[in-house]
Symmetry: C2
Subunit: 153 residues, 2 copies
DNA sequence: GGAAATGGTTGGCCCGGCCAACGTTCCGAT
DNA sequence: ATCGGAACGTTGGCCGGGCCAACCATTTCC
Protein backbone atom coordinates (compact mmCIF):
# COMPACT_ATOMS: atom_id res chain seq x y z
CA UNK A 1 0.00 0.00 0.00
CA UNK A 2 0.81 3.54 0.43
CA UNK A 3 2.50 3.41 3.02
CA UNK A 4 3.35 6.86 4.21
CA UNK A 5 2.22 9.55 6.54
CA UNK A 6 -0.66 11.25 4.79
CA UNK A 7 -1.20 14.93 5.56
CA UNK A 8 -4.81 15.68 6.43
CA UNK A 9 -7.01 17.68 4.09
CA UNK A 10 -6.42 21.35 4.95
CA UNK A 11 -10.08 22.04 4.30
CA UNK A 12 -11.11 20.12 7.40
CA UNK A 13 -12.15 22.52 10.13
CA UNK A 14 -10.49 20.58 12.92
CA UNK A 15 -7.03 21.27 11.54
CA UNK A 16 -7.31 24.79 12.89
CA UNK A 17 -8.05 23.76 16.45
CA UNK A 18 -5.20 24.93 18.70
CA UNK A 19 -4.95 21.49 20.21
CA UNK A 20 -4.38 20.08 16.77
CA UNK A 21 -1.83 22.70 15.81
CA UNK A 22 0.13 22.07 18.97
CA UNK A 23 0.12 18.30 18.91
CA UNK A 24 0.86 18.26 15.21
CA UNK A 25 3.72 20.71 15.47
CA UNK A 26 4.98 18.63 18.37
CA UNK A 27 4.97 15.60 16.14
CA UNK A 28 7.34 17.30 13.74
CA UNK A 29 9.46 18.60 16.59
CA UNK A 30 9.58 15.14 18.07
CA UNK A 31 10.66 13.66 14.78
CA UNK A 32 13.44 16.17 14.39
CA UNK A 33 14.65 15.58 17.92
CA UNK A 34 14.41 11.83 17.61
CA UNK A 35 16.31 11.81 14.35
CA UNK A 36 18.90 14.20 15.68
CA UNK A 37 19.53 12.12 18.76
CA UNK A 38 19.41 8.88 16.82
CA UNK A 39 22.30 10.22 14.75
CA UNK A 40 24.39 10.03 17.92
CA UNK A 41 22.79 6.79 19.07
CA UNK A 42 20.58 8.33 21.76
CA UNK A 43 16.97 8.91 22.63
CA UNK A 44 15.12 11.61 24.50
CA UNK A 45 15.41 9.99 27.88
CA UNK A 46 19.12 9.54 27.50
CA UNK A 47 19.64 13.20 26.82
CA UNK A 48 17.47 14.38 29.67
CA UNK A 49 19.15 12.06 32.13
CA UNK A 50 22.67 12.94 31.09
CA UNK A 51 21.87 16.63 31.12
CA UNK A 52 20.47 16.51 34.62
CA UNK A 53 23.30 14.34 35.82
CA UNK A 54 25.77 16.82 34.45
CA UNK A 55 23.93 19.70 36.04
CA UNK A 56 23.29 18.41 39.54
CA UNK A 57 26.01 15.83 39.96
CA UNK A 58 25.78 12.30 41.33
CA UNK A 59 22.35 11.47 42.76
CA UNK A 60 20.05 8.59 43.45
CA UNK A 61 17.88 7.29 40.64
CA UNK A 62 14.73 8.52 42.31
CA UNK A 63 15.85 12.11 42.64
CA UNK A 64 17.28 11.94 39.16
CA UNK A 65 13.92 10.86 37.85
CA UNK A 66 12.23 13.69 39.67
CA UNK A 67 14.51 16.39 38.44
CA UNK A 68 14.35 15.18 34.87
CA UNK A 69 10.61 14.54 34.88
CA UNK A 70 10.94 10.91 33.92
CA UNK A 71 8.98 8.14 35.51
CA UNK A 72 11.11 6.04 37.80
CA UNK A 73 10.42 2.84 35.94
CA UNK A 74 11.61 4.47 32.73
CA UNK A 75 14.65 5.87 34.48
CA UNK A 76 15.70 2.35 35.33
CA UNK A 77 15.48 1.18 31.74
CA UNK A 78 17.25 4.20 30.25
CA UNK A 79 19.94 4.04 32.89
CA UNK A 80 20.60 0.43 32.00
CA UNK A 81 21.25 1.46 28.43
CA UNK A 82 23.45 4.36 29.45
CA UNK A 83 25.42 2.13 31.78
CA UNK A 84 25.85 -0.46 29.04
CA UNK A 85 27.41 2.24 26.90
CA UNK A 86 29.63 3.35 29.77
CA UNK A 87 28.14 6.84 29.85
CA UNK A 88 27.02 6.51 33.43
CA UNK A 89 28.01 4.63 36.53
CA UNK A 90 25.75 3.07 39.10
CA UNK A 91 27.27 2.54 42.53
CA UNK A 92 25.48 1.46 45.68
CA UNK A 93 25.08 4.26 48.20
CA UNK A 94 26.93 3.18 51.37
CA UNK A 95 24.91 5.40 53.69
CA UNK A 96 21.50 4.29 52.37
CA UNK A 97 21.67 0.85 50.93
CA UNK A 98 18.39 1.21 49.09
CA UNK A 99 19.89 3.80 46.83
CA UNK A 100 22.06 3.67 43.77
CA UNK A 101 24.17 6.70 43.20
CA UNK A 102 24.37 7.54 39.53
CA UNK A 103 27.35 9.38 38.14
CA UNK A 104 28.05 10.65 34.66
CA UNK A 105 31.34 9.48 33.19
CA UNK A 106 33.76 11.44 31.05
CA UNK A 107 32.47 9.59 28.02
CA UNK A 108 28.98 10.48 29.12
CA UNK A 109 29.90 14.14 29.23
CA UNK A 110 31.37 13.99 25.77
CA UNK A 111 28.24 12.28 24.48
CA UNK A 112 26.14 14.94 26.16
CA UNK A 113 28.01 17.66 24.31
CA UNK A 114 27.37 15.90 21.03
CA UNK A 115 23.69 15.68 21.82
CA UNK A 116 23.54 19.33 22.75
CA UNK A 117 25.12 20.38 19.50
CA UNK A 118 22.68 18.23 17.61
CA UNK A 119 19.70 19.63 19.44
CA UNK A 120 20.80 23.19 18.88
CA UNK A 121 20.63 22.58 15.17
CA UNK A 122 17.25 20.96 15.55
CA UNK A 123 15.86 24.14 17.11
CA UNK A 124 17.10 26.08 14.14
CA UNK A 125 15.47 23.68 11.75
CA UNK A 126 12.24 23.57 13.69
CA UNK A 127 11.72 27.31 13.83
CA UNK A 128 13.19 28.01 10.41
CA UNK A 129 10.14 29.80 9.04
CA UNK A 130 9.96 32.27 11.94
CA UNK A 131 11.81 35.52 12.44
CA UNK A 132 13.73 36.04 15.63
CA UNK A 133 11.05 38.12 17.37
CA UNK A 134 8.48 35.56 16.28
CA UNK A 135 10.50 32.79 17.82
CA UNK A 136 10.65 34.68 21.06
CA UNK A 137 6.93 35.31 20.94
CA UNK A 138 6.26 31.65 20.38
CA UNK A 139 8.45 30.43 23.19
CA UNK A 140 6.96 33.03 25.49
CA UNK A 141 3.39 31.98 24.73
CA UNK A 142 4.18 28.30 25.01
CA UNK A 143 5.98 28.93 28.26
CA UNK A 144 2.92 30.70 29.56
CA UNK A 145 0.59 27.87 28.66
CA UNK A 146 2.99 25.32 30.01
CA UNK A 147 3.41 27.10 33.31
CA UNK A 148 -0.34 27.34 33.70
CA UNK A 149 -0.82 23.62 33.21
CA UNK A 150 2.09 22.55 35.33
CA UNK A 151 1.21 23.65 38.83
CA UNK A 152 -1.87 21.54 38.91
CA UNK A 153 -3.66 19.26 36.50
CA UNK B 1 6.32 4.31 44.83
CA UNK B 2 5.59 7.70 43.70
CA UNK B 3 3.81 7.15 41.25
CA UNK B 4 2.99 10.31 39.44
CA UNK B 5 4.15 12.52 36.64
CA UNK B 6 7.05 14.50 38.05
CA UNK B 7 7.60 17.96 36.58
CA UNK B 8 11.21 18.52 35.59
CA UNK B 9 13.37 20.92 37.52
CA UNK B 10 12.77 24.36 36.00
CA UNK B 11 16.42 25.17 36.49
CA UNK B 12 17.48 22.73 33.80
CA UNK B 13 18.48 24.60 30.70
CA UNK B 14 16.88 22.16 28.32
CA UNK B 15 13.40 23.06 29.54
CA UNK B 16 13.66 26.27 27.56
CA UNK B 17 14.39 24.59 24.25
CA UNK B 18 11.55 25.31 21.83
CA UNK B 19 11.32 21.65 20.95
CA UNK B 20 10.76 20.88 24.61
CA UNK B 21 8.20 23.62 25.07
CA UNK B 22 6.25 22.41 22.09
CA UNK B 23 6.28 18.71 22.84
CA UNK B 24 5.53 19.35 26.48
CA UNK B 25 2.65 21.68 25.77
CA UNK B 26 1.43 19.09 23.31
CA UNK B 27 1.47 16.52 26.06
CA UNK B 28 -0.93 18.61 28.11
CA UNK B 29 -3.06 19.32 25.06
CA UNK B 30 -3.14 15.65 24.26
CA UNK B 31 -4.20 14.81 27.77
CA UNK B 32 -7.01 17.32 27.70
CA UNK B 33 -8.22 16.08 24.34
CA UNK B 34 -7.96 12.45 25.32
CA UNK B 35 -9.84 13.00 28.53
CA UNK B 36 -12.48 15.10 26.81
CA UNK B 37 -13.07 12.49 24.17
CA UNK B 38 -12.94 9.66 26.66
CA UNK B 39 -15.82 11.33 28.46
CA UNK B 40 -17.93 10.56 25.40
CA UNK B 41 -16.31 7.16 24.84
CA UNK B 42 -14.13 8.19 21.93
CA UNK B 43 -10.51 8.63 20.92
CA UNK B 44 -8.71 10.95 18.58
CA UNK B 45 -8.97 8.72 15.57
CA UNK B 46 -12.70 8.34 16.05
CA UNK B 47 -13.23 12.05 16.03
CA UNK B 48 -11.10 12.69 13.00
CA UNK B 49 -12.77 9.94 11.02
CA UNK B 50 -16.29 10.99 11.91
CA UNK B 51 -15.49 14.62 11.20
CA UNK B 52 -14.10 13.86 7.77
CA UNK B 53 -16.93 11.49 7.00
CA UNK B 54 -19.41 14.18 7.91
CA UNK B 55 -17.58 16.71 5.81
CA UNK B 56 -16.95 14.82 2.59
CA UNK B 57 -19.67 12.18 2.65
CA UNK B 58 -19.40 8.45 1.95
CA UNK B 59 -15.99 7.40 0.72
CA UNK B 60 -13.67 4.45 0.56
CA UNK B 61 -11.49 3.69 3.55
CA UNK B 62 -8.34 4.59 1.68
CA UNK B 63 -9.48 8.06 0.69
CA UNK B 64 -10.90 8.53 4.16
CA UNK B 65 -7.54 7.73 5.63
CA UNK B 66 -5.84 10.17 3.32
CA UNK B 67 -8.14 13.06 4.03
CA UNK B 68 -7.96 12.52 7.77
CA UNK B 69 -4.23 11.90 7.84
CA UNK B 70 -4.54 8.51 9.46
CA UNK B 71 -2.57 5.47 8.40
CA UNK B 72 -4.71 2.97 6.57
CA UNK B 73 -4.01 0.19 8.99
CA UNK B 74 -5.19 2.39 11.84
CA UNK B 75 -8.24 3.43 9.87
CA UNK B 76 -9.28 -0.19 9.69
CA UNK B 77 -9.05 -0.66 13.45
CA UNK B 78 -10.82 2.56 14.35
CA UNK B 79 -13.52 1.91 11.78
CA UNK B 80 -14.17 -1.47 13.35
CA UNK B 81 -14.80 0.21 16.65
CA UNK B 82 -17.02 2.86 15.12
CA UNK B 83 -18.99 0.23 13.25
CA UNK B 84 -19.42 -1.80 16.42
CA UNK B 85 -20.99 1.24 18.05
CA UNK B 86 -23.22 1.81 15.04
CA UNK B 87 -21.72 5.21 14.29
CA UNK B 88 -20.60 4.24 10.84
CA UNK B 89 -21.63 1.80 8.13
CA UNK B 90 -19.35 -0.19 5.89
CA UNK B 91 -20.87 -1.37 2.61
CA UNK B 92 -19.06 -3.00 -0.29
CA UNK B 93 -18.71 -0.73 -3.29
CA UNK B 94 -20.57 -2.39 -6.17
CA UNK B 95 -18.58 -0.66 -8.89
CA UNK B 96 -15.17 -1.46 -7.40
CA UNK B 97 -15.27 -4.54 -5.29
CA UNK B 98 -11.97 -3.83 -3.63
CA UNK B 99 -13.47 -0.87 -1.87
CA UNK B 100 -15.64 -0.47 1.17
CA UNK B 101 -17.78 2.61 1.17
CA UNK B 102 -17.97 4.11 4.62
CA UNK B 103 -20.98 6.18 5.66
CA UNK B 104 -21.66 8.07 8.85
CA UNK B 105 -24.95 7.18 10.51
CA UNK B 106 -27.38 9.50 12.27
CA UNK B 107 -26.06 8.25 15.58
CA UNK B 108 -22.57 8.92 14.32
CA UNK B 109 -23.51 12.50 13.55
CA UNK B 110 -24.96 12.98 16.99
CA UNK B 111 -21.83 11.55 18.55
CA UNK B 112 -19.74 13.86 16.40
CA UNK B 113 -21.63 16.87 17.73
CA UNK B 114 -20.96 15.73 21.27
CA UNK B 115 -17.28 15.39 20.52
CA UNK B 116 -17.15 18.81 18.93
CA UNK B 117 -18.74 20.42 21.95
CA UNK B 118 -16.28 18.67 24.18
CA UNK B 119 -13.31 19.73 22.11
CA UNK B 120 -14.44 23.33 22.01
CA UNK B 121 -14.27 23.41 25.77
CA UNK B 122 -10.87 21.77 25.69
CA UNK B 123 -9.50 24.62 23.57
CA UNK B 124 -10.78 27.07 26.12
CA UNK B 125 -9.12 25.15 28.91
CA UNK B 126 -5.88 24.73 27.02
CA UNK B 127 -5.41 28.39 26.19
CA UNK B 128 -6.89 29.68 29.41
CA UNK B 129 -3.85 31.74 30.44
CA UNK B 130 -3.70 33.61 27.13
CA UNK B 131 -5.59 36.69 26.02
CA UNK B 132 -7.52 36.59 22.79
CA UNK B 133 -4.86 38.34 20.70
CA UNK B 134 -2.26 36.07 22.24
CA UNK B 135 -4.25 33.03 21.24
CA UNK B 136 -4.41 34.29 17.70
CA UNK B 137 -0.70 34.96 17.71
CA UNK B 138 0.01 31.48 18.95
CA UNK B 139 -2.17 29.74 16.40
CA UNK B 140 -0.69 31.87 13.66
CA UNK B 141 2.88 31.03 14.60
CA UNK B 142 2.12 27.35 15.01
CA UNK B 143 0.32 27.34 11.69
CA UNK B 144 3.36 28.87 10.08
CA UNK B 145 5.74 26.28 11.50
CA UNK B 146 3.34 23.50 10.65
CA UNK B 147 2.92 24.64 7.08
CA UNK B 148 6.66 24.84 6.65
CA UNK B 149 7.18 21.28 7.82
CA UNK B 150 4.29 19.78 5.93
CA UNK B 151 5.24 20.20 2.32
CA UNK B 152 8.13 17.86 2.69
CA UNK B 153 9.43 15.59 5.36
C1' DG C 1 9.52 -2.70 67.89
C1' DG C 2 6.48 -2.17 64.21
C1' DA C 3 3.95 0.63 60.68
C1' DA C 4 4.67 3.57 56.99
C1' DA C 5 7.42 5.62 53.64
C1' DT C 6 11.14 5.35 50.17
C1' DG C 7 14.17 3.17 46.64
C1' DG C 8 14.83 0.01 42.79
C1' DT C 9 13.11 -3.38 39.52
C1' DT C 10 10.07 -5.90 36.54
C1' DG C 11 6.32 -6.38 33.61
C1' DG C 12 2.58 -4.51 31.52
C1' DC C 13 -0.95 -1.02 29.32
C1' DC C 14 -2.27 2.93 26.23
C1' DC C 15 -2.17 6.16 22.29
C1' DG C 16 -0.57 7.48 18.11
C1' DG C 17 2.39 6.82 14.21
C1' DC C 18 4.45 3.60 11.28
C1' DC C 19 5.90 -0.75 8.37
C1' DA C 20 5.56 -5.35 6.05
C1' DA C 21 3.08 -8.95 4.12
C1' DC C 22 -0.80 -10.93 1.98
C1' DG C 23 -4.97 -11.78 -0.79
C1' DT C 24 -8.31 -9.58 -3.73
C1' DT C 25 -9.61 -6.74 -7.39
C1' DC C 26 -8.90 -3.61 -11.08
C1' DC C 27 -6.60 -1.28 -14.92
C1' DG C 28 -3.40 -0.17 -18.63
C1' DA C 29 0.03 -1.40 -21.95
C1' DT C 30 1.52 -4.60 -24.84
C1' DA D 1 -6.96 -10.57 -24.48
C1' DT D 2 -3.60 -11.23 -21.19
C1' DC D 3 -0.65 -10.19 -17.74
C1' DG D 4 1.98 -7.13 -14.62
C1' DG D 5 1.62 -3.55 -11.69
C1' DA D 6 -1.12 -0.80 -8.83
C1' DA D 7 -4.70 0.12 -5.44
C1' DC D 8 -7.66 -1.63 -1.58
C1' DG D 9 -8.48 -3.81 2.88
C1' DT D 10 -6.77 -6.55 6.65
C1' DT D 11 -3.69 -8.51 10.09
C1' DG D 12 0.01 -8.41 13.08
C1' DG D 13 3.76 -6.18 14.71
C1' DC D 14 7.29 -2.36 16.33
C1' DC D 15 8.53 2.10 18.60
C1' DG D 16 8.62 6.14 21.94
C1' DG D 17 6.94 8.22 25.75
C1' DG D 18 3.97 8.37 29.62
C1' DC D 19 1.94 5.73 33.08
C1' DC D 20 0.46 2.03 36.77
C1' DA D 21 0.82 -2.00 39.91
C1' DA D 22 3.24 -5.22 42.44
C1' DC D 23 7.11 -6.66 44.84
C1' DC D 24 11.18 -6.80 47.90
C1' DA D 25 14.74 -4.44 50.59
C1' DT D 26 15.77 -0.81 53.46
C1' DT D 27 15.09 3.09 56.26
C1' DT D 28 12.52 6.42 59.01
C1' DC D 29 9.11 7.80 62.17
C1' DC D 30 6.04 6.87 66.16
Amino acid sequence: MDTRAPAPDPAAKWVTLPSWLITQTALHAHRLVTDGLAAVDARGHHFRLLAELDRIGPVSQATLGRSSGIHLSDVVAALNELADRGLVERTPDPVDRRRNTVTITAAGRRQLRRQERRLARVQEELLAPLSLPEREQLTRLLGEVLRHHSGRD
